[in-house]
């Protein structure tokens, strides 16, 4: 029960930070996607099912905050959460490299998938321009932020065992 509340608290904090501070953290035209970072971390430490549910909830709120089609981020983040959890569980890499690799791949996949969803819905911007000017810079930005916040966030979200170092988190 406490883990559920911790998860809800982390997602709520991520959404508040997204509204209040993410727009002011813009670098090279892209802002960080803080709920995405939390969903990725959740999926890595709690598994694909928790990642998918958290992704759906965070995505739905993200949809309602924005001006795009409602349901698009919910779809993207639930699939991202699930895929991230599956990648983490089935990856053969060990040590700190595994979660970092998974997080970078998930960040890249999320924005690419969102672009594909918008394209399918017929409300997409120019595909290649979006890929170059949004998807790739956002993936790099989010990956760097994941590296920064993952050790602390993972420790906060995973209550089943104590973690003292980044290596043990992996």
């Amino acid at each position: 029960m406490s883990r559920a509340w911790t998860t809800i608290g982390a997602l709520a904090a991520a959404l508040i930070l997204q509204v209040a501070f993410a727009p002011h953290m813009e670098i090279f035209g892209v802002s960080p996607n803080i709920p995405l970072l939390v969903v990725i971390t959740l999926a890595i430490v709690q598994g694909p099912s928790a990642g998918a549910v958290a992704g759906f909830a965070a995505g739905l709120v993200l949809d309602l905050i924005g001006t795009g089609p409602v349901g698009a981020w919910a779809l993207v983040l639930s699939v991202t959460g699930y895929t991230t959890g599956m990648l983490q569980e089935n990856m053969f890499a060990e040590g700190w490299l595994a979660p970092v690799t998974v997080a970078v791949i998930a960040g890249l996949l999320a924005d690419t998938f969102y672009l594909i969803v918008l394209t399918v819905l017929g409300v997409a911007p120019a595909f290649w321009e979006s890929l170059v000017s949004v998807v790739l810079p956002a993936a790099v930005y989010n990956a760097l932020l994941v590296l920064l916040i993952y050790p602390w966030l993972a420790r906060f979200l995973r209550s089943d065992r104590s973690m003292k170092s980044f290596r043990r988190l992996a």
Binding site: I16, Q18, V19, A20, F21, A22, P23, H24, E26, G29, V30, S31, N33, G47, P48, S49, A52, V53, G55, F56, G59, L60, V61, L62, D63, L64, I65, G66, T67, G68, P69, V70, G71, A72, A74, L75, S78, V79, Y82, G85, M86, E89, N90, Y114, L118, L121, V123, P125, A126, E129, S130, S133, V134, A138
Partner: protein
């Protein structure tokens, strides 16, 4: 004894299918319902809840932004300062000429009893939130339905057109910027009166599309709203033409624009709430 291959772990696929189906249902509902539909109302409620958070974020980060601008301004060269002073003088002279023309225009309008197009009721608003996602070009303002703001109303700044109200809550509204990829404004080149559509893009760049190849504008031409379509009043400055590429193999020339409004740093805007002052309850400026 054989050591078997580790079995790949499987997640709860059924759960994922349910969530994906729910998201698809939401998307279908969103596109099928009208502006008063359930999801649009939910968005309005979310805006009401998130506007104070956005306001706090802007208040906290504005000193940091101001300090950054100050530090950036320290590097302004003497040459640039002199160029700006010369430009200022030139603009003052131009302003005097235009004032003369404005007064003449007023007299002529009065003579023919012409409808005064610029006599639109405007409502001042502060920008309290910036785009929450890289994919969207929208700002949040501190005026809402209680002040008479409605979805679809044009929004402008002193330098020109800013966008259109997209979502309204009682005390806040979201404005879709003209630079947003989903925006489209009926525009017109001021000098030649050639019509086109001003469109935004994911990178925030503006372009003037569907312009007749026989009357291609040149760099420096001003683009204003044409008034066609009935969304934006005629004559609001949209931007300046910065480059024109006219290739023989293409149907229309590629015309790039730059908005005069510093959209990333804008702090106050005017909402065009209608042509009648009595229609609104908020403060009219």
């Amino acid at each position: 004894m054989r050591i078997g291959q580790p079995e790949p772990k499987r997640g709860n696929t059924r759960l994922l299918v349910v969530l994906v189906a729910l998201a698809v249902i939401l998307l279908t509902l969103y596109f099928r319902e009208g502006d008063s539909g359930l999801l649009h109302q939910a968005r309005s409620l979310t805006l009401a809840a998130s506007a104070p958070i956005a306001r706090v974020g802007t208040a906290i980060t504005s000193p940091v932004g101001a300090a950054g601008e100050f530090l950036a301004g320290l590097g302004t060269s003497r040459e640039r300062l002199e160029a700006l002073e010369a430009q200022n003088e030139e603009l003052r002279a131009r302003l005097a000429e235009l004032e003369e023309a404005r007064q003449e225009n007023e007299r002529l309008r009065a003579l023919v009893d012409f409808a005064e197009e610029s006599n639109l009721a405007t409502l001042g608003a502060r920008v309290i939130g910036r785009p929450a996602s890289t994919w969207e070009g929208a700002i949040t303002i501190d005026r809402g339905s209680e002040d008479g703001v409605e979805a679809g109303m044009p929004v402008m700044a002193a330098q020109g057109l800013v966008g259109q109200v997209a979502t309204v809550s009682p005390r806040a509204a979201t404005v879709r910027l003209i630079t947003d990829q989903q925006s489209g404004v009926a525009g017109m080149v001021q000098s030649s009166r050639v019509l086109g559509i001003v469109r935004g893009s994911i990178s925030g760049a503006l372009s003037l599309d569907f312009v007749d190849r026989a009357q291609v504008p040149k760099a420096g031409d001003v683009v204003i709203t044409s008034g066609l379509g009935g969304v934006y009043p005629k004559g609001i400055v949209v931007g300046d033409v910065t480059s024109v590429e006219d290739h023989r193999g293409e149907l229309y020339p590629r015309i790039a624009l730059t908005s005069r409004v510093p959209i990333g740093r804008i702090e106050e805007v005017l909402v065009l709430v209608g042509s009648g002052v009595g229609e609104v309850t908020g403060e009219i400026e």
